[in-house]
């Protein structure tokens, strides 16, 4: 079973193999901005590789040194070194799912 880490409405799923990412960041990276509260999920790490989806949201992460996930309303989470898929919580509506706002 893949290990998962959850902070509020964001879920990180560890991937079995390292991934190649198209973009890099150092220091910190905003994973998601809460549309209602305005509080952001921010990843702090020495080296961050990441991919974005069609909506320009972070969808995959490569953290060779691991990282720390912080949010004003949630306790921090330490992510071990590895690669992760990033998923946002969604909500059902008639016909199609919609994203949940944190």
């Amino acid at each position: 079973m893949k290990k998962t880490y959850r902070q509020g409405d964001i879920l990180f799923i560890s991937m079995d193999t390292p991934i190649h990412t198209d973009e890099t960041a150092a220091g910190s990276l905003e994973i998601a901005q809460g549309e209602v509260t305005g509080h952001a999920h921010v990843l702090h790490a020495g080296a961050i590789g990441f991919d974005t989806d069609r909506e320009k949201r972070v969808s995959r992460l490569d953290l060779p040194q691991g990282g720390a996930l912080r949010h004003d309303e949630h306790a921090p989470i330490d992510l071990p070194p590895g690669s992760y898929e990033v998923r946002r919580q969604r909500e059902y509506a008639y016909g199609e799912p919609i994203s949940a706002d944190d």
Binding site: H74, I77, E91, Y92
Partner: protein, 217 residues
């Protein structure tokens, strides 16, 4: 009193005395009045298809609404009270849409009440009003949720809607305590096929199985 040609729905709030009570409760709220011929009382709306059928249906719906005291001669009917009486769906779709747009879908749903929204026969209209009301509020306001399933991941609430899919919401606790030490809960609507709170929360993250976070805050 059930109007001629109208439907009597046992237990539906708003029919007869209920509508009068609702009118009294809502007295004072401005409403539209228009001394216009039937079929022309909503500006900009032109019926499609056979004119006779549309006019006949509109005239019948207006008569029903007058009989139910939710509008008088020459007045525009209130869509929330029409819903509580179960006759909004008797209006032609374009008229109905215009009435809802003018009043606001949430005002219509809330004004009609959760029970009345769940008893709307027209599927499209019911779905619109359910979403405008909000699934979580609808479930608790209607007080008709038939099943609750609780596990370590939360509580799943379900309302069975005859002839339609169930309405389900899952209540989950925020894993991080508030400053006062309490845990805030929140609700998410989930598909009708989920059976447990764990399955419901897993669905919200598009996971079919194996949802067991090693850390969550």
């Amino acid at each position: 009193m059930v109007p001629a040609g109208g439907r009597h729905v046992p237990g539906r709030p708003g029919c007869g005395g209920g509508c009068r009570q609702a009118l009294l409760r809502l007295r004072g709220i401005p409403w539209h009045h228009a001394d216009r011929p039937v079929g022309e009382f909503v500006p900009g709306v032109r019926p499609h298809g056979p004119l006779h059928g549309s006019r006949s249906r509109l005239a019948r719906a207006l008569q029903l609404s007058e009989d139910n005291k939710v509008c008088g001669p020459g007045q525009l009917a209130r869509p929330d009270l029409l819903t509580s009486c179960g006759i909004l769906e008797d209006f032609p779709p374009e008229i109905r849409a215009r009435l809802i747009a003018q009043a606001g879908a949430e005002n219509v749903a809330r004004g009609a009440g959760a029970g009345a929204v769940l008893e709307v026969d027209d599927t499209e209209l019911r779905h619109q009003l359910v979403e405008a009301y909000g699934a979580k509020d609808l479930i608790f306001d209607s007080e008709v949720f038939s099943k609750t399933v609780k596990d370590d991941f939360g509580t799943l609430y379900r309302v069975e809607v005859p002839g339609d899919e169930d309405i389900c919401v899952v209540k989950v606790l925020n894993a991080t305590p508030e400053p006062d030490g309490t845990f805030q809960d929140y609700f998410l609507r989930v598909p009708p096929y989920v059976q447990t709170a764990r399955e419901a929360v897993a669905w919200t993250f598009d996971m079919e199985e194996g949802y067991a976070p090693v850390a969550q805050t």
